[in-house]
Symmetry: C2
Subunit: 331 residues, 2 copies
């Protein structure tokens, strides 16, 4: 049984992580800054190399890995019946709003990963995170729950009636691009003005106010009035976004993660709750907001859960074997 090995990838805008696990837990994890130049297949090739390095660290050969779970930033698109990435934070050819050293319009992913791995499951990073939280974290036994990451961007994983929503190309949960403000001020990487991500993401808060989100939040914690006003406004928009999902999906529970949330939940929670809970009672009664449990490894664990045999899960739930995992950066 321990001879079954799984691979996992977490593909993000700034780094990629490759992990190898067996039944006893994750064995090795390597990370590297995401390649953003070369041919459009550069990222998929980098993924294969990182998986090979992780195998080496785990003391196995790459062909011993039976299945590969992938958590990736999106959106996805389907070409020739295979999933690829059309992510504005990676593809320089898609929008003018992010400065990238490439002119990619589509990153092939599934096709290239399948040249090495027979079983490949690819999901959006927030869908992977929600999968992890449902199996091992704070969303166990929650059939109507939403995972939200508030970080440099904003992403969602949606579960309704016990079913995690994928949509026609696996892009369900891109509700960071929901339009909330008719004002033209805030610009998103997708080209929208006034969507949730434009209004509150760490990156866009920094762009709008000429000061990093970290600095804005530090100043707010120190009681600086302008910073407090910015944080208050962002939290109100965020609360309106969560309310929109709650009234659309009849959600029971929101699980929040991401760097902005993790570091500033105390400041944000009362404002978000006040904005949501002032609404028509039948649509918001009983909704809870809590922090996600699995923290920074949530997408990696979710990627593993996508391809994990059912019979491993109780053990993992009991022992949280990812807590001992060491990460090896690759230069």
């Amino acid at each position: 049984m321990d001879a079954v090995f799984l691979g996992a990838l977490d593909i993000g805008g700034s780094k990629i992580a490759a992990t190898i696990a067996n039944r006893s837990g994750p064995l090795a994890r390597v990370t590297q800054a995401t390649i953003k130049s070369g041919t459009p297949d550069a990222i998929a090739r980098q993924c294969l190399q990182l998986l090979a390095l992780a195998c080496e660290r785990a003391g196995i050969a790459p062909n011993e890995v039976s299945s590969l779970g992938v958590s990736s930033c999106g959106p996805f698109a389907v070409q020739d019946q295979a999933l690829g990435l059309v992510a504005p934070n990676l593809c320089g050819g898609l929008t003018d709003s992010v400065d990238l050293p490439n002119d990619w319009t589509y990153i092939p992913l599934e096709t290239i990963l399948r040249t090495r791995y027979a079983q490949v499951a690819i999901e959006n990073d927030c869908i992977a995170a929600l999968t992890a939280e449902r199996h091992f974290g704070a969303a166990q036994n929650q059939d109507n729950c939403v995972y939200v990451t508030w970080s440099t961007g904003i992403g969602f994983g949606l579960c309704v009636d016990g079913h995690i929503l994928r949509g026609k190309h696996g892009n369900a949960g891109h509700a960071g691009h929901m339009l909330l403000s008719a004002s033209e001020d805030a610009l998103c990487g997708c080209g929208n003005r006034g969507d949730l991500e434009a209004l509150v993401s760490g990156r866009n808060l920094g762009n709008q106010h000429g000061q990093s989100a970290a600095d804005i939040f530090s100043a707010a914690h120190a009681g600086e009035a302008r910073a407090l006003a910015i944080v208050h406004e962002a939290a109100r928009w965020f609360g309106r976004g969560l309310y929109n999902l709650a009234t659309t999906l009849d959600t029971q529970c929101f699980l929040l993660g991401g760097s902005v949330w993790r570091h500033h939940a105390d400041l944000l929670t009362p404002i978000i709750e006040a904005e949501m809970m002032s609404r028509f009672p039948a649509l918001i009664a009983g909704i809870t907001i809590r922090s996600a449990a699995l923290d920074e490894l949530v997408a990696d664990i979710g990627a593993l859960a996508l391809v994990m045999p059912q019979e491993w899960m109780a053990d993992w739930r009991l022992h949280s074997p990812w807590l001992n995992l060491q990460t090896h950066p690759v230069v």
Copy 2:
């Protein structure tokens, strides 16, 4: 086989319809204005009486009806493990914003219907409509589709990955209450300001502009500039609402119904499409907008479909037996 009889209710803010059907099709349908005074159980009692009248017209005894499907306006709430209505257009005790001759805060429904019928399935009217369109109408073989009614109110039925979304209390699809505008001008019956229903529903367009929605649309068709501007603005908000659902659910196809849409689709379609289709390509590519097929009986047929034996469906799909149905108003 023809001895199996089904009952259906369509409970709306202005009228209730009760229908009896067997395998060959709907046999009788009676309607009456919705009761809005008396004790909170008045509506459920009225439903039982209308079903009895429909049975009489169908020539059967009420106890011959095996199963009851119910399509109702919402939202729903659960009390003592049974569904009831907390609808602001029926319950005078819930908000100040609608003038109603009662102080109801909860309408018991399931408990009372179950005193007569052993099998009762209750769904929101747009969930019922979507069920009908998926079985018999314009959403057959569409696994990622959204039904929208644009009428006196705005409602949605949502299907993702072939699964019709219900949510924790069956209230998924109340996206008419999604906040779109931060302006305080438009007031919804739920108490929200600036939600989709406040901005575009027939009732609220009338309230905002001091002229019925029908008159506004007539003037717009006649080329009157002010009316055209109102319609244009409403269609833009509506397009933003559809876009928000598309980016949240990765929808393939929107099916539109309701009186405003049915009569003015020609005027509305290009504006809605322009508002949606200007967005980030990966999130909107390939989305289609079309009219629902089943028209005014869609919720009644949906209510029947909730409890219909699988083996009837192919016949109904083939013969559209509801086309011959006569409706009998009860005074």
